[in-house]
């Protein structure tokens, strides 16, 4: 009766393609806030707060150098989280876009997989823009923010990170009936991750169990990966990459099944 549904890549691609078509119309207006936000953090915390913690910086980096790569990861988290919560909910409940799509050969499971892919794509697009800006800013202010050519791997990594947070966001979306409940997701999940995943200070210096708890959360590993790729990675980064892949793979099919049951009576 309840067999596990595996999305078809073709159907998922069609849903991704729909989102691309619409994004191409509105990208200018939707890009701007996503771009400005990390820059505000960089200016306020990196330059403002950073001025008070200059001596020695963190791990031999200035404070602004320390937080810049982490903001790449959190930016991907925010982009994918908004996409998979508010945007997905509106398409599901208000615009009934998914109801229309699933009367075609594209199935409910393909729709959700397509949305994962799209959220990842959006994260990567914004992240690449922000990364380019970090490079330019580093040159402009004479304080290189991205120091390693390994940084070319950051955009594809942001795609994966975006998919991971899309899976998490879609899981929450698949369980709720009312759009107001997203406030809980952002306040209790997204914001704590943003603050305690090693973007602004090394979590390792906290007493137990904070570092141990952080290890089990997704943004911590995303920040590690981005920071290592920005500065030249150690082999340890592979642990973070594997963690992200395993976590994403383990969760990915759960929202697909729940959403299918919501779309098909």
């Amino acid at each position: 009766m309840s067999t596990i549904r595996i999305p078809s890549p073709r159907g998922a691609f069609r849903v991704w393609q729909r989102n691309v078509t619409i994004f191409r119309k509105y990208w200018m207006s939707s890009l701007f806030p996503n771009f400005i936000e990390p820059l505000l953090y960089l200016a306020a915390l990196g330059l403002g707060l950073g001025a008070f913690i200059q001596q020695g910086g963190i791990d031999g980096q200035s404070y602004v150098q320390y937080i810049a790569p982490g903001l790449l990861a959190s930016n991907a988290m925010f982009a994918a989280s908004f996409e998979s919560t508010f945007n997905t909910f509106v398409k599901l409940r208000f615009d009934r876009i998914y109801d229309a799509i699933i009367t075609t050969p594209v199935n409910a499971e393909d729709v959700i997989a397509g949305e994962y892919l799209w959220a990842g794509t959006r994260s990567a697009l914004y992240g690449t823009g922000f990364l380019a800006m970090l490079v330019v800013l580093g040159v402009a202010f004479g304080e290189t923010l991205i120091t390693s050519p390994w940084a070319f791997l950051i955009p594809p990594m942001l795609l994966v990170i975006g998919i991971m947070f899309s899976v998490m966001g879609t899981l929450f979306t698949s369980l709720i009936e009312h759009i107001d409940l997203f406030a809980y997701y952002f306040t209790l999940v997204v914001t704590p991750l943003f603050l305690f995943s090693g973007i602004f200070f090394p979590v390792e210096n906290f007493p137990a169990p904070v570092p141990q708890v952080a290890w089990f959360t997704p943004l911590y590993h995303a920040v590690n990966v981005c920071r290592e790729l920005a500065t030249g990675p150690s082999l340890g980064v592979l642990v973070d990459v594997v963690w992200i892949l395993v976590f994403t793979g383990a969760l990915a099919l759960i929202p697909v099944q729940i959403m299918r049951r919501r779309l098909i009576g």
């Binding site: 073709r10 159907g11 619409i22 876009i97 229309a100 699933i102 009367t103 075609t104 199935n107 009576g265």
Partner: protein, 321 residues
């Protein structure tokens, strides 16, 4: 049943395109559809007539896979819907009850994006989109925003969208509900053009006029069951006398009149405190008897019996409440 299938998208007239046997759907303790049987032939326009909550939409959704049946059999083009989800959806068109057009896309784009869901080649999509917009009389609105369209235009765009894959069977759930008479007539006209092309249409409605005008055959649903079926003419002939006299009078006068009317007509339905419907084969004779009684009538309407009367006779209720 004849399971021999046509080879192309063309529909061979007379073959069963849609078959339901003992079809059931329940949600927990609530049984929305309680075991219905129907058989729709290729090229036919088949209607499900009934009031809201009769189980019409649930039946439609089972056909296009948005609701999974609890029991019974349901075959589209000879394929069991449970095992051939994608294949069936590829071959049918769906006009849902509520408008779910993509509001972020313009009129023509709605068709282009929808066509991609069927993996149609871009050239084919472009050609069909223009043909369909022309067919549904939307050519002047190709670049309009969906939100700027009137209710009737949105319905027509939904129908155009349902045709982008050149389906052999089109399922329409209340295609004209909420439309003004002009818009409704335009939709009827287009649907008749589709049947003339040989497409099979299955539609739900609670307008007996719609069912009578469009459907070759129809079933009447009520409370999850099919309570009657046939051609519109057969249904009227079988269940009601051909002529109806609507008699209105004060409740006291009606009491006096009722025995006379009951005696002189085949059937009587009391539709309110001050009104009765009398079914008869000879309305003149009935009118004569009523005049002879000397009771002062407020209003009498004489008309031909229709599907509304069939429904009223079968259930004691009117279709639209």
């Amino acid at each position: 049943m004849n399971t021999e299938m046509e080879t192309s998208t063309g529909t061979v007239s007379g073959e069963s395109t849609l078959v339901g046997r003992g079809l059931r759907k329940s949600y927990g303790d609530f049984e929305a559809v309680k075991g219905v049987d129907f058989q729709v032939s290729g090229g036919e326009c088949f209607g499900f007539l009934g009031p809201n909550g009769a189980g019409k939409t649930t039946t439609m959704k089972m056909i296009y896979g948005a609701v999974i049946q609890t029991g019974g059999e349901l075959e589209v083009a000879g394929l069991d819907v449970r095992d051939h989800e994608r294949e069936i959806k590829r071959r049918i068109g769906v006009v849902p009850q509520e408008d779910n057009l993509d509001e972020e896309l313009r009129v023509r784009e709605n068709l282009l994006i929808y066509g991609r869901y069927y993996d149609l080649p871009r050239k084919v999509i472009l050609r069909r989109a223009d043909e369909l917009l022309d067919f549904m009389q939307l050519s002047e609105k190709v670049d309009a925003r969906v939100e700027q369209l009137s209710g009737g235009m949105k319905r027509r765009l939904l129908i155009a969208r349902a045709l982008i894959n050149d389906p052999e069977l089109v399922v329409l759930d209340e295609p004209t509900t909420g439309l003004d008479p002009q818009a409704r007539h335009l939709v009827w006209d287009r649907l008749r053009a589709l049947t003339a092309e040989g497409k099979t249409l299955v539609l739900t409605t609670h307008y007996m006029e719609e069912a009578a005008r469009l459907c070759d055959r129809l079933v009447i649903m009520e409370g999850g069951l099919i309570i009657a079926g046939g051609t519109p003419k057969e249904l009227v002939e079988e269940h009601v006398s051909p002529q109806v006299l609507e008699v209105r009078a004060s409740p006291e006068d009606l009491e006096v009149l009722l025995p006379i009317v009951e005696d002189a007509s085949d059937a009587v339905e009391r539709t309110g405190e001050e009104a009765v419907l009398a079914y008869t084969a000879d309305a003149d004779a009935l009118a004569e008897r009523i005049r002879g009684s000397g009771v002062k009538l407020e209003n009498t309407v004489y008309r031909q019996a229709g599907l509304e009367d069939v429904f009223l006779r079968l259930t004691g209720r009117s279709l639209i409440e």
